[in-house]
């Protein structure tokens, strides 16, 4: 690994899913800090709090659920892309809903990938692999 620890922002209301991601990253020895935001409103607030050109430490990757309380994931994505500090942040949308319409909505955003939350543990390996790729690309 290069450059030490990563920071990953996870916007996800389901604690069990956050736990799964944590375990997955541990499993593949992906060394990262997790910032967890659990609803759409907090996520928007977090986005607002990231001032442009502050030089502050920003996350290397955001993992966003689409189905969030209060404000949905697409709103959060739009807010992020409008904030110049976060405009280039790689985003992995992790949603339980494999609807083509959702995939289409997400694919409109740059530097954003889409994956379905796996129903089986073995598929989490692929998620970990995707995350690792995106992190390494962002370096």
């Amino acid at each position: 690994m290069f450059g030490g620890k990563y920071t990953v922002l996870i916007i996800e209301d389901n604690a069990a899913d956050v736990q799964l991601l944590r375990l997955t990253f541990e499993d593949v020895h992906l060394n990262c800090d997790l910032i967890v935001v659990t609803d759409g409103e907090q996520a928007l607030a977090w986005v607002r709090d990231q001032p442009a050109d502050s030089g502050a430490r920003l996350p290397d990757l955001a993992i966003v659920d689409l189905n969030l309380p209060k404000h949905d994931g697409v709103e959060v994505l739009s807010a992020m892309r409008k904030n110049s500090a976060l405009a280039g942040l790689p985003i992995l949308v992790l949603s339980s809903s494999p609807r083509p319409s959702d995939v289409a909505r997400v694919s409109a955003f740059p530097n954003t990938r889409y994956a379905t939350k796996p129903s089986f543990l073995e598929a989490y390996g692929e998620i970990a692999e995707t995350v690792r790729q995106m992190l390494e690309l962002s370096r």
Partner: protein
């Protein structure tokens, strides 16, 4: 005869009122005219007799008066006698002849006509075409000494006839008028029931309101007709009511059915989606337990956990299929889809299954159709997947063929699998209907999806199969979905 036929046709379309009026006028006119003709004829006869008597008497008087003048051959006295006839304005001419045939004296009503009427032997009153000629000998002591001849016109008769004719016409006009007026109530008595019935019939047919009844205003044939008509209306009303009720019931049932279908679809969609989430947690966390050996690793525990994981896997497949089934009705955009690519994608999704079973899938060359790819891929994937899943002992050999069936495109997926007994040929398309236990996994929804897709495009799907002889699943797509290489679409020729 032709005129009569013509008249008949014209009269036929007249309203009843007019016809009755025509009958009244015609009969009145005929009666009055006949009576008038009788009167005129008898008057003519009577008048002729009267004229004969009158002229006989007149000639007698003139002859007697002119005896002296004739005896003395005095033309002046004779002329004076004749000039007294001036009072009789219908007398055209009067002449007194001497016995030798020369004219002693003459009288003419107008100068234009100054010819003496011819004398005849003895007393004669002759009715000619234009006038009456009277000839009478003038006697002296019973001996003829000359002849009086007169010409009398029919003017008086014409005057009478003119007066009679005028009177008759006036009587005719008045009687027709009176007949028309007096018969009004009578005619109404006949026409009113008919008119009312016609109004009722029109109203019924215009409003389709079978509750209306015709009013019975008379006890004659019209009354019978009205009764019969009302009776008929009652029956129609009953039937109409029954029909209406049945229709309303059916509509309500249809609405309920549509509502319940919609509810069911919404439920299936929501259930398949929302059940997936908790199931995912159960599944993944159970696998975590298994993987991390967080529970005691006795063989029994391992077996239990693996049963849980298998269960969640099956339920996951079931929910995924259920969701696919529920989503079929969602709106989808129709595009030109290459069926060759669709089949490739379906095969790609089944790659693992095809490789594991050493299945060989071959296909004809396919056309492009206007459809939604998201419908066609599951259709082929389910059919190919089933052909592999329900294989026989031989390696699966599957062929997808395409033919034209009239106007339709007929696509068949043929396998060398275990086959299906005829009694199950229609049951297999029912959702969740399965012929196998858990030894062959499946949700029982694959063929239901296929049927729904095919029906959505207006086609049919069925199976031709016998146990041990493989199966052929056939479906049709309407020819108008076809898109030709030049981009045109249309029917198969």
């Amino acid at each position: 005869m032709r005129l009569f036929a013509q008249l008949n046709t014209t009269v036929r379309d007249w309203p009843l009122r007019t016809k009755l009026l025509a009958v009244v006028i015609a009969t009145t006119t005929a009666a009055v005219a006949l009576a008038a003709a009788g009167i005129v004829v008898s008057d003519s006869v009577l008048f002729t007799r009267y004229l004969e008597r009158d002229l006989t008497a007149l000639s007698q008087i003139v002859a007697d008066t002119s005896t002296g003048a004739l005896a003395f051959d005095d033309p002046k006295a004779a002329a004076e006698t004749l000039s007294a006839l001036r009072a009789r304005q219908h007398l055209i001419a009067a002449c007194i002849y001497r016995s030798d045939g020369t004219v002693l004296a003459s009288y003419f009503r107008s100068k234009a006509n100054s010819e003496c009427p011819r004398r005849q032997d003895g007393l004669q009153v002759a009715f000619g075409d234009d006038a009456v000629a009277v000839s009478r000998p003038v006697l002296l002591a019973d001996r003829p000494i000359g002849t009086l001849s007169m010409l009398y016109d029919y003017g008086e008769m014409w005057e009478r006839r003119t007066i009679y004719g005028g009177t008759v016409l006036a009587i005719l006009a008045v009687s027709v008028l009176l007949a028309a007026v007096f018969s009004t109530r009578l005619r109404r008595l006949i026409t009113n029931p008919v008119v009312k019935l016609v109004e009722t019939v029109s109203s019924v047919s215009a409003n389709r309101d079978y509750r209306i009844r015709a009013e019975r205003v008379s006890g004659d044939e019209m009354g019978i007709l009205v009764d019969a008509f009302n009776e008929m209306l009652s029956r129609i009303e009953e039937r109409d009511e029954e029909l209406r009720r049945a229709l309303a019931e059916r509509e309500q049932a249809n609405r309920r059915l549509a509502q319940s279908n919609e509810d069911l679809e919404r439920f299936a969609f929501v259930a398949s989606h929302d059940l997936q989430e908790p199931l995912r947690m159960v599944s993944v966390y159970t696998q975590l337990l298994q993987k991390r050996s967080l529970v005691d690793s006795s063989p029994e525990t391992a077996r239990f956990i693996s049963t849980i994981v298998d269960g969640t896997r099956r339920m996951h497949e079931l929910l995924t299929d259920l969701r696919a089934y529920a989503e079929l009705n969602a709106s989808s955009d129709m595009r030109v889809v290459d069926l060759n690519r669709v089949i490739e994608k379906a095969k790609d999704n089944l790659k693992l299954s095809i490789e594991t079973n050493h299945a060989v899938v071959t296909q004809d060359r396919f056309a492009c159709v206007r459809a939604y790819e998201g419908h066609l891929i599951p259709l082929f994937q389910n059919l190919i997947g089933n052909a592999i899943k329900y294989r026989s002992n031989q390696a699966p050999r599957i062929h997808i063929s395409c033919a034209r069936d009239g106007n339709d495109l007929r696509i068949a997926v043929t396998d060398n699998g275990e086959g299906i007994a005829p009694e199950y040929h229609s049951k297999i398309f029912v959702p969740f209907k399965r012929l196998h236990g858990p030894e062959i996994p499946g949700s029982g929804i694959g063929l239901a999806i296929c049927e729904r897709v095919v029906q959505r495009y207006g086609g049919r799907i069925w199976v031709e199969s016998e146990p041990g002889k493989g199966s052929t699943f056939v479906f049709t797509l309407p020819g108008n979905l076809l898109v030709f290489a030049d981009g045109s679409s249309g029917n198969v020729h």
